[in-house]
């Protein structure tokens, strides 16, 4: 799983700039999820503008496969209860911990800081993620 996420992120990261540069900008789900996403669409400028930037995102931690405990990757969503349906593509941020590091899934809202990536990543011809984040810290 981690390999898949890292591979996907690697394509985005290759031409990118050094990770840490200045204070992170806070990006909200209001912006990230504030439009109806469709595959291949041109994303709103206020969303794509965050690509490659150092950001902080606030939300709830979860894993794609329901695993718990110490994790190397996780997703951030805006509501802890997934009762209303699987989150939409632009309602999830796929986060990857630095190589060799893990974090414990926390209850309640957390603030995740790191380098943000906006890109449709595909597996088996299906878009599997839109927002990615290389994690620097989880608070």
């Amino acid at each position: 799983m981690k390999t898949a996420v890292l591979t996907a992120l690697a394509f985005v990261l290759l031409p990118s700039q050094p990770t840490r540069c200045g204070d992170p900008e806070e990006v909200t789900f209001g912006i990230l999820a504030g439009f109806d996403y469709e595959e291949g669409m041109e994303l709103p400028a206020d969303v794509s503008g965050y690509n490659g930037k150092q950001v902080s995102v606030s939300g709830f931690m979860a894993t794609e496969d329901g695993s718990e405990g110490d994790v190397e990757y996780f997703i951030i969503i805006n509501d802890a209860c997934g009762c209303e349906g699987t989150p939409k593509m632009n309602e999830m941020v796929f986060c990857v911990m630095p190589s060799g590091e893990t974090t414990r899934l926390k209850d309640g809202r957390v603030m995740v800081t790191g380098k943000f990536h906006v890109s449709e990543e595909k597996e088996e011809g299906v878009v599997v993620s839109l927002y990615g984040l290389e994690v620097d810290s989880v608070k």
């Binding site: 799983m1 898949a4 909200t28 789900f29 209001g30 912006i31 999820a33 504030g34 439009f35 109806d36 794609e64 496969d65 329901g66 718990e68 997703i75 805006n78 509501d79 802890a80 209860c81 997934g82 009762c83 209303e84 349906g85 699987t86 593509m89 999830m92 899934l105 209850d107 309640g108 809202r109 597996e123 088996e124 299906v126 878009v127 599997v128 993620s129």
Partner: protein
């Protein structure tokens, strides 16, 4: 490669027939009955990647009757609780109307213990079947807010707006909002005032930003309808979005004219809370409780019910339960109970049948204290919920 025979240019009809035959014979993929639907159902449940699970689930749902036996076989083997929400929500948005799919959705929607009952009801609502009117009507008072939403949507999509309009006064602001969205999308502007009210929201319960989530939903609907955004920035504060909301409201008032009816107002909330308890349940509905330094217990998402606690009940509540340090208990599928205390800095989240004994005891004593205060209806509800979450004795 298949070599197509040369066909005279004058014989277009024959060419069409022949080409169609060749396509059918050589290019068409395997007939539906040869598709391994069991494998897709398995993938929809067990693939490690969430979006690939969703893609497989959509394929299963879109196949209609052909894939239903595989879904039933999975359900028989693993139990209904093993059915993932992604599969049911895929059926909810698919367009299939065959009897086998409808039968499956009806079965799920009729099972009060099924986690994803509301999603099944959503699937039935989206299919606009007049014969289901009675089913939707019977669910309008369901304790689970999601079920009430889909019951209301079901009637709304069938054109029965009179009963749907009643839900614009529901106790839960999330119901009012979703029903208003449906009404407006179906051309009934009487949902507009509720959407305007929702645009103003930024309130949270503990850290659940229900106000902001609702504002985003309202904004998307209003932007589509008004074909402009009035400068509204989703996620931005009420103050910063004030002019934009005023713009939307002016536009909506002009559109509604004398038919404007003030919506249920969502009370603003700048109270500082010392802690809270939330019980989220797809089956039984949600419960929200918070307490303040003034020893007031505030009940409900909007905090409309307030009970003054006596010293002893308050100090017991604010001290929280004696915990072992472990914050997560059991595997949460949908339903969970979570509490957080600012004073102690402790919190806990538990799945059904996994709430530790000391936390159960703490909540039971709260229920008793409320009973003493005469809030017996609320005490009963809290005690019922505890039955669901209390850990089984070894």
């Amino acid at each position: 490669m298949v070599l197509l025979p040369k066909i005279p240019a004058t014989s277009w009809s024959a060419a069409g027939t022949c080409t169609l035959w060749l396509v059918m014979a050589h290019v068409t993929p395997c007939p539906a009955q040869d598709t391994d639907w069991a494998a897709y159902v398995e993938k929809a449940h067990n693939h490690r990647r969430i979006m690939l699970r969703r893609a497989a689930a959509r394929k299963v749902a879109d196949a209609g009757a052909a894939a239903v036996p595989a879904v039933r076989a999975f359900q028989k083997k693993h139990g209904r609780d093993a059915i993932r929400m992604v599969l049911v929500s895929s059926y909810a948005v698919s367009k299939t109307t065959d009897a086998a799919t409808l039968g499956l959705l009806l079965e799920w929607a009729g099972d009060r213990d099924f986690y994803w009952r509301s999603q099944a009801l959503k699937g039935l609502a989206n299919r606009r079947r007049p014969e289901l009117k009675k089913l939707f009507t019977s669910n309008l008072q369901d304790p689970a807010y999601l079920t009430r939403i889909e019951a209301g949507r079901g009637l709304c999509l069938l054109g029965d707006h009179s009963r749907t309009l009643g839900l614009l006064a529901d106790v839960d602001p999330r119901v009012r909002l979703r029903v208003a969205v449906c009404l407006v999308e179906e051309g009934n502007d009487r949902g507009l005032p509720t959407l305007i009210e929702a645009l103003r929201q930024e309130t949270s319960f503990l850290d659940y930003p229900w106000g902001q989530i609702g504002a985003i939903v309202a904004f998307k609907t209003m932007r589509k309808l008004a074909a402009q955004d009035f400068g509204f920035v989703p996620g931005e504060s009420r103050t910063k979005n004030g002019d934009a909301v005023a713009g939307f409201e002016k536009w909506a008032r002009v559109r509604l004219g004398k038919n404007w009816v003030d919506p249920v107002q969502i009370p603003g909330d700048d109270t500082s809370y010392l802690g809270g308890i939330e019980i989220r349940s797809c089956r039984n509905g949600d419960m929200f409780l918070r307490w303040t330094a003034d020893q007031v217990l505030v009940i409900g998402l909007e905090g409309r019910t307030r009970i003054q606690l006596d010293d002893s009940a308050f100090s017991n509540l604010d001290a929280g339960p004696q915990t072992t340090g472990e914050t997560r208990h059991g595997k949460v599928v949908c339903d969970f109970l979570r509490w957080a205390c600012k004073t102690t800095g402790k919190s806990q989240k538990a799945a059904p049948k996994a709430l530790p004994a000391e936390s159960s005891k703490w909540l039971e004593s709260l229920a008793k204290a409320l009973d003493k205060k005469g809030a017996s209806e609320f005490t009963k509800r809290l005690q019922n919920r505890l039955q669901q979450f209390r850990a089984r004795r070894p």
